[in-house]
Symmetry: C2
């Protein structure tokens, strides 16, 4: 944790000693009373926190927040629902890289049960976003939405000047050679078994260009990091 | 496994049923006798394999190899020895992306015990290279070397036209805005706690430019994937 994030409600009451953040502050950072650590309010400002009192069950913290709030980058990721272990990495990495929205859709070549994993049912996914943001020293979490299919997903994503779908088989060109025309972009990554023909049609109708990341077959999470990296670089953010 | 890799010696005797590849061929791919699967010889050609006989303890396989062998990309990664779990991901991802050489060095801000992990002592690292290559449908594994420090590492890496070190704090410019002058490159990534002043001096003397990947603090393995991606794109391989 480079930055320790709290929800606004959490800052109003003492932090239980068994909370991972309390252990991190007391045992890993070894902060004495009134010695500050880097803190942030989720989707709010960064600032400093410090211990003012150690109760038997909890730490009493105080905070001083900055006046500005950082922004995420105007890039949204659309991704065919991957296996939960891969989804955990994508949530964390996309949050760390500063992606604004994450749209997971049930893909035609996907596995239905992936979307009903405890990752999604228990709200566990939120923890991976927080981990990614804390790593990146950021308070902002990407918005996350789940969709029943690509078509409904495409109806729900924000408007964007550039729309690119990664595809190893029917790509018109390499993503690295695509030039972007605007300041915001959508990046679509298929399920682990790739796009169906109907999904490719759907993407083309919605104005997506099919682009490759070279000839090597990358895992979904590697493809997400590489694709986001190239788009952020083209938009001037990396 | 998109491609199932074998060492040349392994192709000369039956493959025991308990070998993960035998289980993959028989149980996951469900190949019947003489039905082919994608196979490769480590650092040799790709081709096809098939079962010719099922013994009580092993599968007897035959292979047909292509005449050409693919190449890795002329990019070497230098990385401050990270914790073993991070090193596993870097080994796999760098192998999948097609990096030619991986040089791990003990960094001044690193942790000495990381280099004596069973990952390195037992040869486990090799398995992660194979996993990455199998994912990428490639037979070629990056060469891996461990060094006692950055200075000895710099004396052992190949010559390269472009030498870039990722650095959040003293970068002259963003990696994405660096133009490369040649066809091969070295990318250096510090330890998880960053570069020491002496290491930065050492890099500058060796002709490295310090470059950033934006303002967000990325994990070492994410920084490796993003940095390799940008360099491969600039060299025209992505």
């Amino acid at each position: 944790m480079n930055l320790i994030l709290f929800s606004p409600e959490e800052t109003k009451s003492p932090l239980p000693h068994q909370d991972a953040r309390a252990r991190h502050i007391a045992n890993h950072l070894r902060r004495s009373d009134h010695e500050s650590f880097d803190a942030g309010l989720i989707d709010g400002p960064r600032g400093k926190g410090w211990i003012v009192k150690r109760l038997p069950e909890a730490l009493v913290l105080e905070f001083d927040w900055e006046s500005t709030v950082s922004e995420l980058f105007p890039v949204s990721l659309l991704i065919g629902m991957p296996r939960p272990q891969t989804a955990r990495r994508i949530l964390r990495e996309a949050a760390a890289l500063g992606v604004r929205e994450l749209h997971f859709f049930s893909a035609e070549k996907g596995v239905d049960s992936y979307g009903t994993s405890r990752l999604w049912n228990t709200g566990e996914y939120h923890r991976h976003l927080v981990n990614g943001a804390e790593q990146a020293f950021s308070t902002r979490l990407p918005a996350v939405r789940l969709h029943t299919g690509l078509a409904t997903c495409l109806g729900a994503v924000p408007d964007a000047a550039d729309r690119i779908a990664l595809d190893l088989y029917e790509a018109e060109d390499a993503l690295s050679r695509n030039s972007l025309s605007g300041n915001d972009a959508l990046l679509a990554v298929g399920s682990e078994r790739g796009w169906s023909g109907a999904e490719r049609d759907c993407l083309r109708v919605a104005g997506f260009r099919l682009a490759s990341l070279g000839n090597r077959v990358l895992r979904s999470d590697t493809a997400c990091v590489s694709g986001i990296t190239l788009i952020l670089a083209k938009l001037g953010h990396l």
